[in-house]
């Protein structure tokens, strides 16, 4: 390799970013850029995988075969999303096994939303509509992220994500237009999920320590608060259309700004859940650990079988 000093490499790197030239795995990149991506993409991967758990809970209790098939397809998609993302993390030189072990040890985080329980069938609708809806809002700008493998994974993910939101909205709509009991179930579910959904966009801009650098590197294209506002603006009319009430006394359309004003988020709750004290944190991580431990024999058996076949082929 030619002798080039680090400042020159960094300058060239930023120049590529500024010119919207993607960074690919073997290209030179600042160590901090690599570490930021490893952290962000692995957290994203963990969220996809842990996100299967609240939904998996309802597969056997889906109200009919159509709903069950849809729910299974959605959960399978989320597994796929996790796999695309773990592969993207690996392109940065991270060890896949270690990446997962970091989730199990609590070192790595995942989206705080999945630490809330799915208590009723309406929650399956609410998760699709609000949680996948918020995820889409986060993920669409990531399709233009400066790191090639992450951006490409996001293109696939976004294509698959839109059915997730629609099936959820369909469930909620049907309940909202059903019997009084069904409508009450939908409303109660919205009451529980609304605020955690808004928290999915992360801490407010003034408390977000990574935002400025991530925007300079074009890993992020919008701030947390911008995306949150966008989510509120598109989602409130969707709730109104089906006769549900967003649980926020301060929610009001602001004619001057063209946006909805909304109430204060309970950041104490957010930080509590992030720190591991949400209703389901322990359960979620335990389920992932158990999946690894109890599935280990399958991995071992597959390895043994592959080795045996390779030997037989060679002899």
């Amino acid at each position: 390799m030619k002798e080039i000093n680090i400042t020159e490499l960094e300058r060239k790197f930023q120049e590529k970013i500024d010119n919207d030239i993607k960074i690919e795995p073997n290209d030179w990149m600042p160590e901090e850029y690599r570490q930021t991506l490893i952290r962000q993409i692995s957290q994203h991967a963990h969220s996809e995988i842990v996100g299967q758990l609240p939904e998996g809970n309802w597969v056997t209790r889906a109200p009919n075969l159509r709903r069950k098939a849809v729910l299974l397809a959605k959960i399978q998609d989320e597994a796929g999303h996790g796999l695309y993302l773990y592969s993207a993390v690996e392109t940065l030189g991270a060890d896949r096994e270690q990446t997962m072990d970091d989730l199990h040890s609590g070192k790595a985080k995942y989206s705080s939303i999945f630490n809330y329980p799915a208590l009723t069938w309406a929650d399956m609708g609410m998760i699709g509509w609000l949680v996948d809806g918020a995820a889409i809002m986060n993920q669409v700008p990531l399709c233009r992220c400066s790191y090639g493998p992450y951006a490409r994974a996001m293109v696939r993910v976004c294509k698959e994500e839109s059915f997730h939101q629609r099936q959820g909205y369909e469930i909620v709509t049907q309940l909202a237009q059903g019997t009084p009991e069904q409508k009450a179930m939908a409303q109660e579910s919205l009451d529980r999920w609304w605020w955690p959904a808004l928290m999915m966009f992360g801490p407010s801009d003034k408390d977000s320590k990574h935002t400025a650098q991530s925007m300079k590197w074009k890993i992020k294209r919008h701030t947390n608060d911008e995306l949150r506002q966008q989510f509120v603006d598109v989602t409130v009319p969707q709730a109104e259309l089906i006769g549900l009430k967003v649980p926020d006394a301060d929610l009001k359309f602001n004619e001057a700004t063209g946006h909805y004003d909304f109430g204060d988020i309970n950041w104490d709750e957010f930080w509590q859940v992030v720190a591991g004290h949400g209703p389901c944190n322990k359960e979620r991580v335990a389920a992932r650990k158990r999946a690894k431990e109890e599935g280990m024999w399958v991995r071992e058996a597959a390895n043994a079988y592959a080795e045996k076949r390779a030997k037989r082929k060679a002899s």
């Binding site: 073997n26 796929g80 096994e97 079988y305």
Partner: protein, 95 residues
């Protein structure tokens, strides 16, 4: 208990007859057969493919990004390799 990781595979997919295989991503699997099965589940859930290739990632030989100037810059000065380099008189067609 051995902790051996399954090897990494690169997945290439032909989206329909008549098109070439294109890189879709990568995955881990114990052997080629499982790699194809997994690729089917991970990369073709919505009929994105009619044929799958899997290649062990460590078998791929790639050009070095630091060589890219030597490798690719010479062709940038050879604009005469493109048809648009040439003037065709007005009134000429089929060329």
């Amino acid at each position: 208990m051995s902790k051996k990781e399954w090897p990494l595979w690169e997945v290439f997919i032909r989206s329909k007859q008549g098109l070439s295989h294109k890189h879709a991503g990568s995955l881990r699997a114990p052997d080629a057969e499982m790699a194809i099965n997994n690729a089917r589940d991970v990369y073709t859930r919505r009929s994105e493919g009619v044929s799958i290739w899997v290649v062990p990632s460590n078998e791929i030989v790639a050009s070095d990004p630091s060589d890219s100037e030597e490798l690719f810059e010479p062709s940038q000065t050879k604009v005469y390799r493109h048809p648009t380099f040439y003037d065709v008189p007005d009134g000429i067609s089929h060329m």
